[in-house]
C-alpha cells in the first residue's frame, strides 16, 4: 500500500523527471467563484492517477490547467523538470482525451490519429499510425469517419490520437462518461492495459468512484475546489479521513459517539447505553475524553444476527441493536437497512452464504463487527457530506 496520504508541500525539482506532474499553489478563480483552491500536488511519473469528485468540484479545471487549456490564477505547473505554466497547449508535452472525444468529424480514423504527428512535421506516419490503431484494436477501420463508429470505437480513436504523440502525460477528462455500463467496464480494463503497456503517466478525471478505484494507483478525492484526501484506492476506502470521503467513496455508516476512555490501543466510546471500541490509530480525530467523534464502519464489515441469537455474538465485538426496515436480495449478497436508535438507516451487506430466513423487515436484530474495522472521524463535520444518490 502506498503510504502517500498527503501531497508534499515543497516538491523536489530533482526528483521530478520525465512525466511527473507537479502543481504548486495552483488555483483558479472566475470573479467571485473559486473553482480550485490553492493546491499542491505531485503526480509521480508512470502512475495512473485519478482526480475523483462530484461535478463542479474543480477536478476538470485542474486537468485543464495541466493541459494548458485554462490559465491558473496563481501557482505553477511543472511537467518533469520543465515549468510549463506560461506555455500554450500546443507547446506542452501532454495530450488530452476529451470528454465526448472531440474527434475531427471531417477526417477519418487514420487522419485523426495522424493529426498530431503531421502537425509536428513528421512525414512518414504510416507505421506509427498503424501500430497505434493496432494497440487500440482498430486496425481494420482506418477509413471510417468518426460518425460511423460506435461510442467505444470513438473512445479508442481519441485515446490513440493522443497516445501516438508519446506525451509525457496523458490527460483523460471523463473519457468513459458517454459509454454504457458494460462498455465502460470493458474500457476501464482496456485503458489500464494500455497504460501498463506504454508506461506513460495517466491523469484521469472522473466522478465515478468505482472507475477510479478499478483503474488508478493513486486517487485524489476532490471536493469544493480542494483535495480532501489522496492515497491508494484501498487506503482511501479503509481509512477515510473525512465524512466526505467516507460517504463518497463507497458507503459508510457513521455513528455519533462520545469518547469515555481508552484501553490499550483502543478508544472506548459510548452511544446511548451501548459501547463501541475504536482503534486509536484509525481515528482521524484527535479526541479527548468527553469529546464527540464519528465512528464509522463499512456495510460489508458487519454481521447481522436475529435478536433471539444475541447471546451467540462473541464478546469483544462492537454491537448495535435495531430493526430491519428494508431487505433487498441482490444475488451475491443481501442488503439490509436497519433502523437503530443511534443511527438511522444503518446499511448492512451480508454475503448470501447461509441466509437466515427470519431476517425480514420488522425483525429485531443485533449488528456486530470486529472493532478493528471501525474508523473515527472528526464530529464537527457534516455527517452527510459526499452522500451521492447516483
Amino acid at each position: 500500500m502506498t503510504q502517500q496520504t498527503t501531497a508534499p508541500a515543497e516538491p523536489q525539482a530533482s526528483a521530478a523527471s520525465g512525466g511527473a506532474v507537479t502543481l504548486t499553489g495552483i488555483s483558479k478563480t472566475w470573479g467571485d467563484f473559486t473553482a480550485v483552491q490553492p493546491l499542491d500536488l505531485t503526480i509521480p511519473e508512470g502512475s495512473f492517477f485519478a482526480l475523483l469528485g462530484a461535478s463542479g468540484c474543480g477536478k476538470t479545471t485542474t486537468l485543464r490547467m495541466i493541459a494548458g487549456l485554462e490559465e491558473p490564477t496563481a501557482g505553477t505547473v511543472r511537467i518533469g523538470d520543465q515549468d510549463v505554466t506560461g506555455l500554450p497547449p500546443h507547446k506542452r508535452p501532454v495530450n488530452t482525451v476529451f470528454q465526448n472525444y472531440a474527434l475531427f468529424p471531417h477526417l477519418d480514423v487514420y487522419e485523426n490519429v495522424a493529426f498530431g504527428l503531421r502537425r509536428r512535421g513528421i512525414k512518414s506516419v504510416k507505421k506509427q499510425v498503424e501500430d497505434m490503431l493496432e494497440l487500440v484494436e482498430l486496425g481494420h477501420l482506418p477509413r471510417r469517419k468518426p460518425h460511423q463508429l460506435s461510442g467505444g470505437q470513438q473512445q479508442r480513436v481519441a485515446v490513440a490520437r493522443a497516445l501516438i504523440n508519446r506525451p509525457q502525460v496523458l490527460l483523460l477528462d471523463e473519457p468513459l462518461g458517454a459509454l454504457d455500463l458494460k462498455l465502460r467496464r470493458q474500457m476501464q480494463l482496456e485503458l489500464k492495459r494500455i497504460q501498463t503497456e506504454v508506461g506513460i503517466t495517466f491523469v484521469h478525471v472522473t466522478h465515478d468512484q468505482e472507475e477510479a478505484m478499478t483503474m488508478a494507483d493513486t486517487i485524489a478525492v476532490m471536493n469544493a475546489g480542494r483535495i480532501e484526501q489522496l492515497g491508494a484506492p484501498a487506503d482511501l476506502y479503509e481509512n477515510p479521513t473525512s465524512t466526505f470521503v467516507a460517504n463518497f467513496l463507497g458507503q459508510s455508516n457513521l455513528i455519533e459517539a462520545q469518547v469515555t476512555g481508552s484501553s490499550g490501543d483502543d478508544l472506548l466510546l459510548s452511544v446511548g447505553d451501548g459501547r463501541l471500541t475504536l482503534p486509536t490509530a484509525r481515528s482521524a480525530a484527535t479526541a479527548q475524553i468527553g469529546d464527540k467523534v464519528l465512528a464509522g464502519v463499512r456495510p460489508e464489515k458487519i454481521s447481522i444476527a436475529h435478536a433471539d441469537d444475541a447471546a451467540t455474538v462473541p464478546d469483544g465485538r462492537n454491537k448495535i441493536t435495531g430493526r430491519i426496515i428494508d431487505a433487498s436480495f441482490i444475488g451475491v449478497s443481501t442488503q439490509y437497512v436497519v433502523n437503530s436508535p443511534w443511527c438511522p438507516e444503518f446499511a448492512v451487506f451480508a454475503q448470501n452464504v447461509e441466509r437466515d430466513t427470519r431476517l425480514t423487515p420488522g425483525t429485531e436484530v443485533v449488528l456486530h463487527w470486529n472493532p478493528a474495522h471501525t474508523f473515527g472521524l472528526d464530529a464537527t463535520q457534516d455527517i452527510e457530506a459526499g452522500e451521492v444518490s447516483a
Partner: protein, 311 residues
C-alpha cells in the same frame, strides 16, 4: 409507383405484409399528403412558368400579328452572339462580389460564432437589419454614398486609391459612380447577408472543443483554422457562395442604379427585352441561357468543393 401497387401475387414478398384495412392504407398515404402543398407550389410557380418561357423562346412573330411556336432555335444563337459580353460581365461582377462577400463575411461570421459572447444576437440582428428596408432604397442610398462630391470619393482620391482602381479599369476619371466598382460594391453590399448567414450557421455548430483538441495536438491557432475550422465550415462556404453568386449574376438593379450603360449586366438586357422592347422570345432565350450557364458553373463548383483537394 407500379412496384408498390401491382406486386404479382405469386412473387416472393419483400415487404412485410401490411395489415389490411382503411387505416393502414391511409397511413401509407400520409407522406404524399404532406408533400402535396409543396408539389402544387412547384407546379404552379416553377414548372408552369418554365414551360411557358420555354415555349416563348421558340416562338416567332410580333405583338401585332401574335406569336406562334415555330421552333425557331436560331433565336438562342442570335441572342448569344449579340449579348455574350453581357454574360461575361455578369459572371465577372458576380464572381468578384462573391469573393468580396466571402472575404468580408467569413471573418464576421467567425467573430459572431466564436468571439461575440453575449453580443452574438445583437450582431446577428445587425446583419439582417438591412432587410427591413427595400432592396431598391438601399441601392439608391449607395448613389448618395458614392456621389462624385461625396466623402468616399474624395477620401479614395486623396489616398490615390482611385488612380489604382482606374489603372485596372474598375473606375474612370475620378468617379466611382457609373463604374464597375460601384456595381460590384452594390452587389457585395446587397448579397452580404446571404453569405454571412450560412457561414454563421456552419461555424456556430463547430464544437469549441475541436479547437482545444487541435491545439492540444500541436496545431498553432492558424493551423487549427486551416486544418479544422475551415474544412468543417466548407458546407457553409459552398452554400454562401451559391446564395450570393446565383442571384448576383442575374441581378439588374445594381447595374441600373449604380452603373452606366457600359456596366449593363445580362439581367438588364433581359429586363429591357421583356419590359421595354417587348421582344419576348429573345428575353426568354436569354433567361434560359443564363440559367444553363449558372447550372454548369455551379455543378462544376460543387463537384470541386466536394472533393478533398479543396480542403
Amino acid at each position: 409507383m407500379a412496384a408498390i401497387s401491382t406486386a404479382p401475387a405469386g412473387a416472393p414478398t419483400e415487404t412485410p405484409p401490411v395489415p389490411p384495412g382503411r387505416a393502414a392504407r391511409r397511413r401509407k398515404l400520409v407522406p404524399y399528403w404532406l408533400l402535396l402543398p409543396g408539389i402544387l407550389w412547384l407546379l404552379v410557380f416553377f414548372v408552369a412558368p418554365m414551360v411557358y418561357q420555354a415555349s416563348t423562346s421558340v416562338q416567332t412573330g410580333s405583338l401585332e400579328t401574335g406569336y406562334q411556336v415555330t421552333w425557331h432555335l436560331a433565336t438562342y444563337w442570335d441572342a448569344f452572339k449579340e449579348y455574350d459580353l453581357f454574360y461575361l460581365r455578369s459572371l465577372i461582377y458576380a464572381g468578384i462580389a462573391t469573393v468580396l462577400c466571402l472575404a468580408i463575411g467569413y471573418p464576421l461570421a467567425y467573430t459572431i460564432a466564436f468571439k461575440a459572447g453575449r453580443w452574438r444576437n445583437v450582431l446577428l440582428v445587425m446583419v439582417i437589419a438591412p432587410f427591413f428596408t427595400s432592396f431598391l432604397i438601399r441601392t439608391l442610398a449607395w448613389k448618395t454614398i458614392l456621389a462624385d462630391d461625396g466623402i468616399v470619393v474624395s477620401v479614395l482620391d486623396k489616398l490615390h486609391i482611385l488612380n489604382a482602381t482606374a489603372a485596372i479599369g474598375l473606375t474612370s476619371s475620378d468617379r466611382v459612380l457609373a463604374t464597375p466598382l460601384a456595381v460590384v460594391c452594390g452587389l457585395t453590399y446587397n448579397f452580404l447577408p446571404f453569405m454571412i448567414l450560412p457561414l454563421y450557421t456552419s461555424l456556430e455548430r463547430i464544437d469549441p472543443r475541436l479547437h482545444e483538441a487541435a491545439g492540444d495536438l500541436y496545431a498553432r491557432p492558424f493551423t487549427t483554422f486551416r486544418k479544422v475550422t475551415f474544412p468543417i465550415s466548407l458546407p457553409g462556404v459552398v452554400a454562401g457562395t451559391l446564395l450570393t453568386f446565383i442571384p448576383a449574376s442575374g441581378d439588374y438593379i445594381n447595374a441600373e442604379l449604380l452603373g452606366s450603360p457600359s456596366e449593363q449586366m445580362i439581367g438588364n438586357v433581359i429586363q429591357s427585352k421583356f419590359l421595354t422592347v417587348l421582344d419576348y422570345p429573345t428575353a426568354a432565350a436569354l433567361s434560359f441561357m443564363l440559367m444553363a450557364v449558372i447550372l454548369v458553373i455551379v455543378s462544376v463548383y460543387i463537384r470541386k468543393a466536394g472533393t478533398e483537394e479543396l480542403v
